[in-house]
């Protein structure tokens, strides 16, 4: 294996432009995923799935983003700049009613788990781990059994209806093999999506979260950066500004196959029990 590559998505600088969604669809020829109006802030994409490999979540909250320092003094009269329209009730410095507002945006993607349940449960070997440590579906092998779909603890992979097979983010396997960065990272105008060697990204993320915490953004935390969690760390991890479930992410995901040895033991005992019960039923007087 060459160096393990991944994504660090720093949601604190995401501006919700959805360039990642568009670039991903363009590069990977991902079909249209529905033109809906959901009423969920600016999110009309809704969720990851077979036809959505990047999804930008929008969350509106009555919370301060952090202690904010505008850097200008508004004590005393402010000199007018031209003639502001009378009807405008809110200038950049006049907070609206209800207090604070923060708008969280986060670009979600397949996590490329170290212990990937989708890959573990795939019965055909269509899902495999690449030389970059990423998890990719071979569409010429997948027979659409659908087992990977409920196995994923993040609800990432889905079945394409008119096609029957399972599809998800490939971390642009075709681009990174040529030394290019994935389409979404390339398109991201704020470097919210960063692509690179995973250990390098983890160092950068730790520094970034320390900077934010020092600056008073106490909510900032890393998600899936630890290698001792239920998926043994992710190839795509995040800096979040609230609990994972606020973004639709599971707070403590585990790869279901972690418990598989226990499950097989129980199944073996159960099978032996059925055989034993069946034989016992023939014992003694009829």
């Amino acid at each position: 294996m060459t160096q393990r590559m991944g994504f660090f998505t720093d949601t604190s600088v995401c501006i919700g432009c959805k360039a990642c969604e568009v670039a991903c669809k363009e590069w990977n020829h991902v079909p249209e995923d529905g033109l809906n109006f959901t009423g969920m802030s600016y999110d009309n994409t809704e969720q990851l799935g077979a036809d959505t490999w990047r999804h930008v979540a929008f969350i509106e909250q009555r919370k301060p983003l952090a202690e904010q320092e505008p850097g200008v003094d508004h004590e005393g009269p402010v000199p007018p700049l031209g003639a502001p329209p009378d009807a405008a009730p809110m200038t950049p410095m006049a907070p609206g009613e209800g207090g604070d507002l923060r708008w969280l945006m986060a670009s979600d993607v397949c996590k490329h788990c170290t212990k990937a349940a989708c890959l573990d449960v795939c019965p055909t070997g269509a899902l495999f781990r690449t030389e970059f440590g990423t998890v990719v579906v071979q569409s010429d092998v997948c027979n659409g059994c659908g087992y990977c779909i409920p196995a994923c603890p993040f609800g990432v992979i889905g079945q394409r209806e008119d096609d029957g097979r399972a599809w998800k983010c490939t971390l642009c396997y075709d681009r990174i093999g040529d030394g290019l960065e994935p389409a979404c990272a390339k398109a991201c105008p704020t470097d919210s999506i960063q692509y690179g060697p995973l250990d390098e990204l983890r160092e950068r993320a730790a520094a970034r979260v320390a900077t934010l915490n020092d600056a008073g953004v106490d909510d900032a935390r890393l998600y899936l950066a630890d290698t001792d969690d239920g998926i043994r760390g992710a190839g795509a991890f995040f800096l979040l500004l609230d609990d994972p479930e606020v973004y639709g992410l599971p707070p403590d995901p585990i790869a279901t196959t972690r418990d598989l040895p226990a499950m097989w033991r129980h199944a073996a005992l159960a099978a032996a029990g059925l055989l034993g019960a069946g034989l016992l039923a023939f014992a003694g007087r009829a």
Partner: protein
Amino acid sequence: MSEDAFTSYYGRPVLKPPVWKALDIAGYLFLGGLAGASSVLSAGAELTGRPRLARGTRIGAAGAIAVSLVALVHDLGRPGRFVNMLRVLKWTSPMSVGSWILSAYAPLAGAAAFSAVTGRLPRIGTAAAMAGGVAGPAVAAYTGVLLADTAVPGWHEGHRELPYLFVSSAAAAGGGLGLLVAPRAEVTPARRLGVAGGAAELLVARLMRARLGTVAEAYETGRARVLMRAAEALTGAGALTAALGRGDRRLSAAGGAALLAGSALTRFGVFEAGMTSSKDPKYTVVPQRARLRTG
């Protein structure tokens, strides 16, 4: 469920619900169990000289497994690629293991039934029935792991109980079939297996729900609740009728039919509860939060 406060993204599920169709997959869970337990009965009948019980259960097992295979292939997104199931053998994939178990078991069940129906190749038929009796329990038991090895809370949280629930349910179904097909002189083992299986099914289902905690609610709401209640009633009534109707052929048959129906409803109920639990974020978030709190 305690009214734990939890947050979610606009109430959206964290997981993707399975794309499996209830009729195909829950139907297979039932038929696979029925086939597996029937094969155990037919092997026992072979050993103890009960030809009518052996014949009926051989045919039942082959029929059930044949319909199962059709349902399984039909459920694939690409049915034409079903043979890709045999590209690899992976212990981490219960579906892969199951495909290989079925590839071994189905021909055995088929050969045993062929011999029973045509009267040809009796020795091969007997050997196939004996081998099928050993492989049958594997077919009945692995399906518990098949469901439990997912992120679906209603299934995964029950991973200790599901294999036992499914083999109990299989025993009830197999015994039920035996009660329907065997004459009075040969029926006792089927009655014993059916009654014991039914009792175990009721017990394990209760135990599982008690141990599921928060997630048990998925079994106690909506369609899953109706199915699980109906399963309980039919299995209970079937086991009682079969146990008490010892002298009466018709009562025994009615008990057997009720045991079969109860077993099927249990599988559809478990399937439905898993679907429910995958579509509501609370079943994912609340237990995970609790796990993080307790460490």
